[in-house]
Every structure is written in structure tokens, then in C-alpha cells.
């Protein structure tokens, strides 16, 4: 948390440091309690299979929260997450790596604030982007 990235150091096309996740079923239960999403497809295998799924799946909103962590950890103490979100396009299973990634798409200054837009997504080991989204953060300038 001590390293601070500055606006002037960030350029379109830059990839930000990746964040690797791998959910245990325990983490999914913890998330269910923390988020209030108790839909059984995330912790009751019989229920999940009865709905036609292969097994348990990771909550989409948890993957979105992972992307928020990816941003939070990158922007340091001087930055702020202004906007983040993603679509849930593919399923992730517990026990499988979820790689969180982001690439800078635009940098601009408005009303004295330094903004950075990014494409963000989670990626499965097979390379499929299961949660593509976008985000906007502000960063301090070296000024």
C-alpha cells in the first residue's frame, strides 16, 4: 500500500498489476453472508445441479468486487475508485484460478481531477473473459 502511482506515469494501453483469486467454497459462503445473496447455486451442489448447472458457481458480484480490489490496490492511498462494473458472461467454479486484469483505455483531466478509464475483466485458466467491464479511477498528479 506504500507505492503510489501518479497520473503522469499512466498511459493508454498500459496493463495494471494483475490480481489472482481462487475461491474456496468457504469463501463463497462468506460472500453469501457478507453480500446477503443466499441463492443456493453458490453453496448447495444438489440445488445447483437441479437447475442444470454442472456444479457450484462463483457469485458474479464477488467477481465484480474482485475487480474493485484490483483497482483499489493499484491506485494507492492517493487515488479513488469512481466507477466500476462488469457483465457476467461466463461462469467460474470454486477451486479454479480467476485472474483479474485491467488495461488503461483513456487518461484525461477535468476540473483539476486526473481521470483514468480502464477495461477490466476476470479471466479463467482457459483464457475466457468471464466478467468484462469498465472502470474509472482518479489518480494524484505529481504536480
Amino acid at each position: 500500500m506504500t507505492h503510489q502511482v501518479f497520473f503522469e506515469d499512466v498511459h493508454e494501453g498500459d496493463e495494471i498489476p494483475q490480481l489472482r483469486k481462487n475461491c474456496s467454497t468457504q469463501q463463497l459462503v462468506l460472500w453469501a453472508a457478507a453480500s446477503g445473496d443466499f441463492y443456493q447455486i453458490h453453496y448447495d451442489k444438489d440445488f445447483a445441479q437441479a437447475t442444470g448447472l454442472k456444479g457450484l458457481i462463483v457469485h458474479g458480484a464477488l467477481k465484480n468486487a474482485f475487480l474493485a480490489q484490483l483497482l483499489h490496490d493499484w491506485i494507492g492511498e492517493g487515488g479513488q475508485v469512481r466507477r466500476f462494473g462488469c457483465s457476467y458472461r461466463g461462469m467460474d467454479e470454486p477451486g479454479q484460478d480467476i485472474l483479474c486484469r485491467g488495461v488503461v483505455t483513456k487518461t484525461y483531466t477535468r476540473d483539476g481531477k486526473h481521470y483514468v478509464d480502464l477495461d477490466v475483466w476476470t479471466e479463467r485458466p482457459d483464457g475466457k473473459r468471464t466478467s468484462p467491464g469498465t472502470a474509472t479511477v482518479t489518480l494524484p498528479g505529481r504536480g
Binding site: 469463501q27 458480484a61 490496490d73 479513488q80 475508485v81 466507477r83 462488469c86
Partner: protein, 164 residues
């Protein structure tokens, strides 16, 4: 298109579009901030430790991104899910998927911290129907506005729900 399944969007549902739902009170408390941060795997101590948060200029433990408080639970009241979860209508689909979520924060109006009380008001922005690989689907888009105890809008959320 001639073979399209009959619409499941009723006049009753159409009348709900753009109408504010009942306000939902959300409490932002230290223990819930910590639990949310722990569930995600955050390592920044501002989400866990009040002293660490104060040392960085925050009033108290900071609500991790995506956490805007816990609904106040009333026994006997209708089941409470996330703000705006199905109300007042039913559709003939059994399965539900969360299609996507986007949060917008307005930190200049106040960073959400433990001790805040948030009022969430949710409205349906649109109903759409589509034919996907899983068959006919109903896509419901909602927007929720989060206002803190000082009357300041601190965040907005747009969410998509898929029923099929």
C-alpha cells in the same frame, strides 16, 4: 421472429418502469465492512482497522467498494434480498442469473464509512426480452440511488437480472 415466444411483460410490469420503489434502510457497520472486505480478500487495513482508517483521514472503517450497508431485517416482512429484488410481479421463469452490476461513487459527497445510514431507492429502468442460448429470457435493468444520513447521494448502482 414469427416464432417468438409470447411476451411475459405484463401491463402491470410496464407500469413499474421508472417508478421509485420503497426506500430501504441500510446500516453501514464496522463488523459488516470487515466481513465484506474479508469475503473479497482485501488487504488494505482501512477496511478492517479504525485507527488505520483515521490515520488516512477517514471518519471510521471505510466501506469496501460494492458494500453500501446491510438491510435492516424485520422478521415477518417480505424476504429481503438486495435492494429492489423482485417485487409486485411474477414471471413464468424459474431460473435467475445476475447479468451485471455497475457502481458509481460520488466521493466528493462523502466517502461511505462505518456509522453511516444509507437510504437506497431502487427503480426498474427497463424490461427487455431476448432469445439466448438458454431459451427466451427476460432482462430487467434496475438503478438504485444511495443517499446518506446527510441527504447526500454517495453512490448509484445499475444492475441487470436475467430470468429464463
Amino acid at each position: 421472429m414469427a416464432q417468438a415466444a409470447p411476451s411475459v411483460i405484463t401491463d402491470e410490469m410496464r407500469a413499474l418502469v421508472g417508478v421509485d420503489g420503497p426506500p430501504l434502510t441500510l446500516e453501514v457497520e464496522k463488523a459488516n465492512c470487515r466481513m465484506f472486505a474479508r469475503a473479497v480478500g482485501h488487504t488494505d487495513r482501512i477496511f478492517y482497522d479504525e485507527d488505520a482508517a483515521r490515520a488516512r483521514g477517514y471518519r471510521s472503517i471505510v466501506a469496501p467498494p460494492g458494500f453500501l450497508g446491510t438491510p435492516v431485517f424485520h422478521p415477518g416482512a417480505a424476504a429481503q434480498g438486495p435492494p429492489g429484488a423482485g417485487r409486485g410481479y411474477s414471471v413464468p421463469y424459474r431460473r435467475v442469473l445476475n447479468g451485471g452490476t455497475e457502481y458509481e461513487y460520488l466521493p466528493e459527497n462523502g466517502v461511505v464509512c462505518a456509522g453511516d445510514t444509507i437510504t437506497a431507492v431502487s427503480r426498474i429502468s427497463s424490461f427487455e426480452e431476448t432469445e439466448g442460448s438458454l431459451g427466451p429470457m427476460l432482462i430487467t435493468t434496475r438503478e438504485t440511488t444511495y443517499t446518506n444520513q446527510h441527504g447526500a447521494v454517495v453512490a448509484k448502482m445499475r444492475g441487470t437480472m436475467i430470468q429464463y
